[in-house]
């Protein structure tokens, strides 16, 4: 109450002679904020990627408050640190929802952390916005997936490499870190490549442990595989820290992008920041956003980010854009529903459309995935990506892959009356099974 009093006297002393109505309104806003949960690791292995997402959420919330908040109330960020510890993610999610009474949560990076919080969100009926590209095979009522599904990243990337522009690749190395995202993505890609007539002996799949640092054997195996007289490319789902030594070894062993290009799904501007990209020029990445995109929206976003973080060397990346889209969608849905009640907001979310940073609009689909353009970029000497190809239109996220036998008959539609995340069109029943 003391705070309110101070606020009122401050208003008065500033010489604002306002009606009593206005004053009660501002007093009300101060003690009745809308809380937004931020569930990103600020310590441990994943802090390297997730800390940035926490910062971008704080920036978005600050900007929304500067615009006058939401439903006449101010937003308040509640930041917790699940410390890259998967069970702790579930505990912290429960704390955010039950104790802090947040209206929605923005968080998680790895698939295993998302899987660990799923039961909490469905039990307590809250909303999670998940901003990272993932392996698909999942659709939950309480989760909105603003990152790419495999068909919004992996499949178009392979299509590009197979095209004349991408070098008409005939031989494929699928190189990944050993966990759920690369394994599922590679399973989908293998099935897809075989459906395109690539024989099994032209596909090599290899996995390495998390944080792997001695890439000599793997890189020379790639070199060997690539000397069979057919155009070869590497599709890399190598995660996080292991990428830097991987690219250093590629550069040192003289594998040039013109000969064997590496297409990465987990390497963004942030990962390249720790690297001398000179020897890597021309290697590729597939994302839905690049910092180098030349649109007024993106320029403003980057300027705001540099101002907020007070460092104009910090990069922006794809998951940051996903949070930008997700947050704006949530704001719009709350305005549409006229309440922050998660149940009503979930129903209001489907069909909400907001501008993305690449010059178009992203729309929330009934399967809780969004529409995005797919961009292929080549690494430049300055650590940025240069877009060399993009899908002509927006691509709708497809949660159940059409290339896996277990999931090809499944669809997801969270609108009434179907309201089901895994509807089997063959049997006409809700409750099919995915591969996970």
């Amino acid at each position: 109450m003391r705070g309110n009093f101070q606020k009122i006297t401050k208003l008065l002393s500033a010489g604002v002679v306002a009606a009593g109505l206005l004053m009660t309104a501002s007093a009300k806003a101060a003690d009745d904020t809308i809380k937004v949960g931020i569930l990103h690791s600020l310590s441990g292995t994943m802090a390297i990627s997730e800390t940035t997402l926490k910062d971008v959420m704080l920036m978005l919330i600050e900007e929304q408050n500067a615009k006058g908040g939401l439903l006449g109330r101010k937003l308040e960020a509640v930041v917790v640190d699940p410390a890259s510890n998967w069970p702790l993610f579930a505990e912290k999610a429960r704390e955010l929802i039950s104790k802090d009474k947040v209206a929605a949560v923005f968080g998680c990076w790895t698939s295993v952390s998302r899987k660990s919080v799923l039961p909490v969100f469905s039990e307590l009926d809250n909303i999670l916005f998940y901003p990272v590209q993932y392996e698909g095979e999942e659709s939950e009522r309480n989760v909105f997936y603003t990152g790419a599904a495999p068909n919004q990243q992996a499949i178009p990337a392979v299509d590009y490499l197979m095209s004349a522009d991408g070098g008409s690749v005939k031989r494929w190395v699928l190189e990944g870190t050993d966990y759920v995202y690369p394994r599922t993505t590679n399973k989908i890609l293998e099935a897809y490549l075989k459906s395109k007539g690539v024989p099994a002996e032209d596909i090599m799949v290899n996995y390495t442990p998390f944080g792997f640092s001695d890439w000599q054997t793997e890189v020379s195996a790639i070199k060997k595989f690539g000397s069979a007289g057919k155009k070869t490319a590497v599709v890399s789902t190598v995660n996080g820290d292991a990428n830097v030594p991987f690219y250093k070894e590629l550069g040192n062993q003289g594998i040039k992008a013109e000969d064997i290009p590496v297409m990465a799904f987990s390497v963004g501007e942030e990962e390249l920041a720790g690297l001398d990209t000179g020897p890597l020029v021309g290697h590729l990445a597939a994302w839905n956003y690049f910092e180098s995109i030349d649109t007024p929206e993106n320029k403003k976003f980057i300027d705001d980010w540099h101002k907020f973080i007070k460092n104009d060397k910090r990069t922006t990346n794809d998951p940051m854009e996903a949070h930008y889209i997700g947050f704006n969608m949530w704001v719009k849905a709350v305005e549409k529903a006229g309440t922050t009640d998660p149940d009503k907001v979930i129903d209001a979310m489907v069909g909400v459309s907001v501008p993305n940073l690449s010059g178009g609009y992203s729309t929330m689909m009934p399967n809780h995935h969004i529409t995005k353009p797919v961009l292929i970029g080549e690494i430049q000497a300055n650590g940025q990506f240069d877009t060399v190809w993009q899908t002509p239109g927006l691509v709708m996220g497809d949660e159940w892959s059409d290339y896996l036998p277990d999931s090809k008959d499944l669809i997801s539609d969270w609108r009434a009356p179907l309201s089901c995340g895994n509807f089997n069109v063959k049997t006409g029943k809700c409750g099919g099974k995915g591969t996970n």
């Binding site: 290009p261 021309g282 240069d386």
Partner: protein, 538 residues
């Protein structure tokens, strides 16, 4: 995608036989100006082919600039320039003469876009243009490019180059490139058979690649000859593969040795289970980063020396932190391994978070000095300079440490305290002081290991985590308290690991190695070389 029109232009020019060796400058400028209007990759490619067809060496500058992404169009007047970075601004050079004509801001320029297939076209074009270059390295590179991308149209140019070449090594490469081109031409079978044997004599992976595509695209005797040549090359390469595996194993072993050698002192000699060991390595790597930052900012000329400057500093920083940890925490916990383990683990978390707060959670860029970049070939094995230097460095550190331990009075005292603390104390050795300095030495060594590891790994707050398990593994396997054990342990684990990896994969390989070590420790609990010391008494 080769646009038909471009081929048309080239073919017409060639057929007309009117192609002068030095096209008039005006024509070249007109061709270059087409870069401005080319808005798609195929259109740009057509321009590149037109320039290449001119055969004029003066377009080389513009083409290499295009490949490097340095070809710019000034937005105000649509003029084409080669850009060169000059302290934030870009110097604009004339695309033909290479002379500086103006300066501009990045925002005033539009880059001529390039992708991988275009880069390949440019590389081939440059290859053709630089066949007769003065610089021998350029000629060799051109010959190798032509070998990798054979084209029947190259044969004449190569014949001329072979006739003019005086360097035997380059001449041989030219002949191989010519042979590769003959394989894709419509020359008679006898020529092709001779070509196959020329290429087979080269015997490397590139030769294999050329022969494999020849085998796939030809019939009869040529197909058979290519197949048997491939089989011959494969069998020699298999031998080289084994040698390569040994080298990779030695190289991994040197990394393990570097990571573990500091621990061989703190854990091996002193018996302290130091979970913060990895963080000492990390501090060393961050010291390198800071040193490079300062050098980049103030003395850019010294960059190649940055690692050598960082070495003593990293040693001091890590040793100082180690000293503080020993005096502040560990000395109260001697003889209580469990508490030491927990306390040092806590210290490791504190150090990680401190670095994260100070430098941010993201990776920091530590550059490779020029003498640590790239690779060279020994037979068919590519040896990268950074791995070689790390091996040399690891052995040097080992030898110096061994000398300190065995030949200096300080080492003598250290060993005395380890062997029998009470006796050493009665002889007048200040044991607490020796403890503190020994721990600082071990930490300092970990710090200089960090300088080397910053060259091959991420410099992030998590750097140390990746090495702590491996380090303990090496020290326990090699025998606690014995430096030689650490050396042999590191190299044997490295080689075993690298021999398993191609067959079992990296994930399974690591598991197999761990299981083997567990079984080995069951048999010989004190490791390869057991030593009597304080660790054993406790």
């Amino acid at each position: 995608m080769i646009s038909l029109r471009a081929i048309g232009v080239v073919v017409l020019l060639m057929m007309a036989g009117l192609l002068p060796s030095k096209a008039a400058e005006a024509d070249l400028r007109a061709a270059l100006a087409k870069f401005v209007t080319a808005t798609s990759f195929p259109a740009t490619e057509a321009v590149v082919r037109e320039l290449a067809a001119s055969g004029d060496p003066s377009v080389e500058g513009a083409l290499s600039a295009l490949a490097d992404g340095n070809l710019y169009i000034r937005k105000s007047d649509s003029q084409l320039f080669i850009g060169r970075d000059a302290g934030g601004r870009t110097e604009l050079l004339d695309p033909l003469s290479g002379e500086k004509v103006a300066e501009a801001d990045k925002a005033e320029l539009a880059r001529v876009k390039i992708n991988n297939s275009l880069r390949r076209v440019v590389r081939d074009a440059l290859g053709a243009l630089t066949l007769r270059a003065k610089d021998a390295n350029l000629r060799l590179a051109a010959a190798n490019t032509m070998f990798k991308t054979p084209d029947a149209g190259n044969i004449e140019a190569l014949d001329a180059a072979i006739a003019a070449e005086t360097d035997t090594a380059i001449k041989a490469t030219f002949e191989q490139a010519r042979a590769a081109s003959i394989l894709v031409s419509d020359k008679p079978e006898a020529d092709k058979l001779a070509a196959v044997s020329t290429i087979a004599a080269r015997g490397d992976r590139d030769a294999l690649s050329v022969l494999a595509s020849a085998e796939a695209n030809s019939q009869g005797a040529v197909k058979g000859a290519a197949a048997s040549a491939i089989a011959r090359i494969d069998s020699t390469l298999a031998l080289w593969d084994a040698i390569q595996n040994i080298w990779y194993g030695i190289s991994l072993g040197s990394v393990l040795l570097l990571a573990a050698i500091g621990l061989a002192i703190t854990f091996g000699v002193m018996g302290v289970i130091n979970m913060a060991h990895g963080e000492m390595v990390m501090l060393g790597a961050y010291t390198t980063f800071v040193v490079q930052q300062v050098i980049r900012g103030s003395f850019p000329g010294l960059f190649d020396w940055s690692l050598i400057i960082a070495l003593p500093l990293a040693f001091l920083v890590a040793a100082l932190v180690g000293l503080v940890i020993e005096r502040g925490i560990i000395r109260f916990l001697y003889g209580r391994p469990l508490e030491t383990l927990l306390a040092t683990w806590g210290v490791s978390l504190i150090l990680q978070q401190a670095v994260r707060t100070l430098f941010g959670p993201t990776n920091q860029e530590v550059g490779n000095p020029s003498w640590m970049s790239g690779s060279f070939d020994v037979g068919q094995v590519a040896i990268t300079w950074n791995r070689l230097w790390i091996l040399v460095f690891a052995l040097a550190v080992f030898v110096v440490l061994l000398y300190v331990m065995k030949r200096t009075p300080w080492g003598l005292r250290m060993r005395a305290v380890t062997a029998n603390r009470r006796m050493a104390a009665s002889m007048g050795i200040r044991t607490p002081w020796v403890d503190a300095l020994t721990f600082a030495l071990g930490s300092g060594i970990a710090g200089i290991a960090g300088v080397a590891l910053s060259q091959i790994d991420n410099v992030s707050p998590n750097l140390g985590r990746g090495y702590i398990i491996d380090s303990f593994m090496v020290v326990v396997f090699g025998g606690v308290g014995n430096l030689w054990g650490t050396l042999v342990g590191a190299f044997s684990l490295g080689i075993v690991n690298k021999f398993l990896e191609p067959y079992a994969g990296a994930v399974l390989g690591k598991i197999v190695v761990l299981v083997m070590i567990i079984l080995f420790i069951q048999k010989r609990p004190r490791g390869l070389f057991a030593l009597k010391g304080r660790a054993v008494e406790a």
